[in-house]
Symmetry: C2
Subunit: 345 residues, 2 copies
């Protein structure tokens, strides 16, 4: 059952909507809601293997969405694609923190330069468009206090965080100076069906789902006492739609988050319990991860609650169960199980 929506059922009827990163985790779940709401949906994705795009994510939407393979780093295709759109959900990004350290220029190209291209395209081709940009809690760095609200200093600990600060700043600048209506959502760990699970490039939680389903122990780094908060993807989609359809979101920055934050050790135990089998182990931090670890984090997300009436509705335990059920059914489209040898899509 989807969460009770506070988005007007008719607000998106017949609207033209562009989603960058549209074949990825959040983009494909958003697409499903947009189609159900009667929007004309175009999904842009580069389908680069290391990123989150997966054609299977929208296989059930075939014929009801327009899929356009393009890279947001290509300003020519973006110039064309933003024209005539009512909404742009700007979700494409390089998300892996370790990759950003190993290859900072690629992270810059996607998370900074392409963002400027997209915003310039909006300014020149479609200044009436409304843009929703997804940022990340990573930009806060090591929390100075908990829960972390939107006024917490920005002190990212890695290249990805530095570039995401710039990316969201560009959006707010284009809003303020050029009148391109934009809002920013700072996501915490998002999970659910269609996430990338074959490695930990989107979040550690992806690979945990895969390992649990493959009968491998979950690996908890450090002492496992570090706290995190989690949003089920349907709740994030709801927040995206609220930002798009409520003008009180224009020019705003909102944290997402959830009240049922948990230590990683307890999360691992919960996942094992919900799945009914499996195990986890506490292992030392790999040095390259320790260097950019932020310790405990959970957010204060009262601003979006108060401004737009958003609230996370799927409890963590319930979301884990749904996610496990999804990947148990569709695993062959997401990874190669060692015992089965079936290739991922």
């Amino acid at each position: 059952m989807p969460p009770p929506s506070t988005v007007s059922e008719t607000a998106l009827q017949g609207k033209n909507v562009l989603v960058t990163g549209g074949l990825g985790f959040i983009g494909s779940n958003l697409a499903r809601r947009l189609v159900a709401a009667g929007a004309n949906v175009t999904l842009v994705d580069s389908l680069i293997p290391e990123y989150g795009g997966n054609p299977f994510n929208v296989e059930d939407l075939r014929g009801r969405v327009q899929v356009n393979v393009a890279d947001v780093r290509d300003p020519h295709s973006i110039n064309h694609l933003v024209s005539g759109q009512d909404y742009l959900f700007n979700l494409a990004g390089q998300t892996c923190h370790l990759d950003s350290v190993r290859d900072p220029q690629t992270d810059l190209e996607i998370n900074c330069r392409a963002q400027l291209s997209i915003l310039e395209a909006c300014r020149k081709r479609n200044p009436a468009i409304r843009v929703i940009f997804t940022s990340t809690r990573q930009i806060y760095g090591v929390p100075r206090y908990l829960p972390v609200d939107e006024d917490h200093p920005l002190a990212p600990v890695d290249i990805n965080g530095i570039n995401k600060v710039a990316g969201e700043s560009y959006h707010l600048f284009y809003h303020r100076i050029h009148g391109v209506r934009a809002s920013v959502l700072r996501l915490t760990n998002t999970y659910g069906p269609r996430m990338r699970v074959k490695d930990d490039r989107q979040t550690f939680l992806g690979i945990w789902f895969m390992r649990l389903l493959d009968g491998q122990p979950l690996r908890v780094f450090g002492d496992g006492l570090q706290i995190r908060d989690f949003n089920y993807v349907d709740d994030v989609v709801e927040a995206l739609l609220l930002c798009a359809t409520d003008e009180r979101a224009d020019g705003q920055t909102f944290n997402l988050g959830a009240p049922d934050w948990v230590s990683l050790r307890d999360l691992a135990a919960m996942m094992v319990e919900v799945y009914g089998r499996g195990d986890y182990e506490i292992v030392p931090f790999p040095p390259e991860r320790k260097a950019i670890d932020i310790g405990s984090y959970y957010s204060d997300h009262q601003r979006i609650v108060n401004t737009l009436g958003w609230h996370p509705s799927v409890p963590l335990r319930e979301g884990i169960a749904r996610t496990l059920a999804y990947f148990d059914e569709h695993r062959r489209h997401y990874w190669t199980s060692p015992e089965k040898g079936i290739a991922a899509a």
Copy 2:
């Protein structure tokens, strides 16, 4: 007379020093001090007409510095040039706020992408190098309190400020994660001999010097009551050298500033008084400037005072007099005076 130096006279003797933006305003003044201290100096500059590089700035150093024309956006030349250097003064940048709004991608290429190239070159080719990066007070945006210290939130109001935040963050990241020793100086308005005066791309103060010497009224935007602080270039050079030669600067971020902050109206009056003739006028803000104006600013620079013993030593009135004397003598190398029709270099 140069300010009394607190930099050890022998610390730079025989050292290999690279200065990006080396034919520009601060770079060329720094070069003069480095040569006097016995360093082997290589100056890198793109000599792009819109930026601060001017061969005349180092004409008196001919034969005593190595000039290498290259653009910091070219990673190949940078890779070569950083090799074997003891110090890198990383001063090259796009500095014009309005240009960054008109052409955000160029600002990104210089202030972000090139910075990553430079730091990657240091990490791979010369990890023992010490890097000093010049940032700007613009990254604070509209001050929430005065004076502005280094812990003030970063909320830049324009693309240049956004990109400079990323640029300094990269430097501190490479220091923390990759061990490339780096420090960041956040400059306020710097002025003095060899600054760009033919337009206001470096600071409004440049064009004020030109207009005063050309007999044209200084143009003060708004009500003229906005406060600014100013550093004479010799004091900035001193701070750069202190950061390079004192390891307590490694990984640090320092504001520069001065105690004799002043309103723009009073500054205009002071310049007219020091020069002994001329006039100023209060004119409305051009809209594109008003949109990114930050109101009053002056810094708290106690951190560098306490950590490195730096203090600004040239009073504003004295610095203005020296600057006027320099440009009065050398004006033909810096701009075309309307009454004389002599081309700038």
